[in-house]
């Protein structure tokens, strides 16, 4: 295995075990982001879910970025899911020579030099995104890209699972409130 890869099969498997064994979205997303940052030695990472009504991405978890930067605005050109950059893998190896950033000066201040954006898809529909930010120029290798895209696919299934679990719990709570009244 090349030592130039930030992620390899061992790390991928380890992260996947965490994703598939978590009991809550909060725990899973926090651990996932920490592990990605820790194992790949990147500056930061953010997990988004899609707000299908507004057509925008909303932050689930973000780490490694300052509060000021996160609250300033979108990281890539637009939060809107309509634009291709949010529907396919986008690699910005060097932000200093890219025109895809809405806030290039902010990225520079934050120390972000490269960005990898991966869509999270389920059955062909984009439901979120995973973004990695690095403080150095990063020419992603084919292996890194494949593993990260595979991870994103698994994140799609995990998000769908948590969506269903939350719905079932809400229904259960509603029934628990209503049921005693009629008995």
């Amino acid at each position: 295995m090349s030592s130039h890869n930030k992620i390899d099969l061992d790390i991928y498997q380890f992260i996947l075990e965490t994703v598939t064994s978590s009991n809550s979205l909060d725990a899973m997303s926090n651990q996932l982001i920490q592990m990605l940052i820790g194992s790949m030695k990147v500056k930061g990472a953010t997990l988004f879910v899609l707000n299908a009504i507004e057509g925008e991405l909303e932050i689930v978890t973000t780490q490694g970025l300052s509060s000021d930067y996160v609250n300033k605005g979108p990281i890539l050109v637009d939060k809107s899911i309509e634009i291709p950059s949010n529907r396919e893998t986008v690699i910005i190896p060097d932000t200093h020579v890219s025109d895809q950033l809405q806030y290039p000066d902010k990225a520079k201040q934050e120390g972000i030099r490269s960005i990898v954006s991966l869509p999270i898809n389920v059955k062909g529909k984009t439901i979120g995104a995973l973004r990695l930010y690095h403080s150095e120029v990063w020419t992603i290798t084919p292996l890194e890209k494949s593993l990260l895209e595979s991870l994103a696919l698994n994140l799609g299934m995990a998000l769908k699972y948590f969506r269903l679990v939350t719905t079932v719990k809400a229904i259960k709570e509603t029934l628990a409130d209503v049921h005693p009244v009629w008995l």
Binding site: S24, S39, V49, I53, S67
Partner: protein
């Protein structure tokens, strides 16, 4: 003078503005209130690196993550400093920075009960989609805090 203990959980995002504005508008210059700004953070993973090169590699960078927590704590203290310029005095405003052990809502409730909180002020996140993936913190707090504690949820 009976002090009213007010707990203000903060997420350290723009959403906190609602809580802070409410507190300032309602209680500034009121010397009978004591404010506690609370942020529950996700602790950095503790990794057992014994004979495991993957874990060792991960642990090295997690030290950097631990350092980033200082940024969040400073953000909390900056919020306190802002309240001090808005009519509160030093003795009235306290900061609490605690790790999440179970989930955010439970940490808030646990702290509120232990601290004898009279009022909890929460900003409801405007996110329309996250509520489908994870239960609302404000709803969980309001549902489990019990009697004797008021909960204001700002929308």
């Amino acid at each position: 003078m009976i002090n009213k203990n007010i707990l203000i959980p903060l997420s350290l995002t723009l959403n906190d503005e609602k809580s802070l504005k409410f507190i300032i508008d309602r209680f500034a210059m009121d010397t009978a209130v004591v404010l506690t700004l609370l942020h529950a953070y996700t602790p950095v993973l503790e990794i057992d690196v014994r004979n495991n090169p993957i874990m060792e590699k991960m642990n090295q960078n997690l030290s950097y993550q631990r350092g980033l927590l200082n940024d969040k704590e400073e953000s909390l203290h900056r919020t306190k400093a802002r309240l001090l310029t808005m009519g509160f005095n030093k003795a009235q405003v306290h900061c609490v920075f605690i790790p999440i052990k179970i989930d955010v809502a439970q940490e808030i409730v646990k702290f509120a009960k232990a601290a004898g909180t009279d009022l909890i002020v929460l900003s409801q996140t405007p996110s329309r989609v996250m509520r489908f993936f994870t239960p609302s913190v404000s709803k969980k707090v309001a549902g489990s805090i019990g009697k004797g504690v008021e909960v204001f949820i700002l929308t």
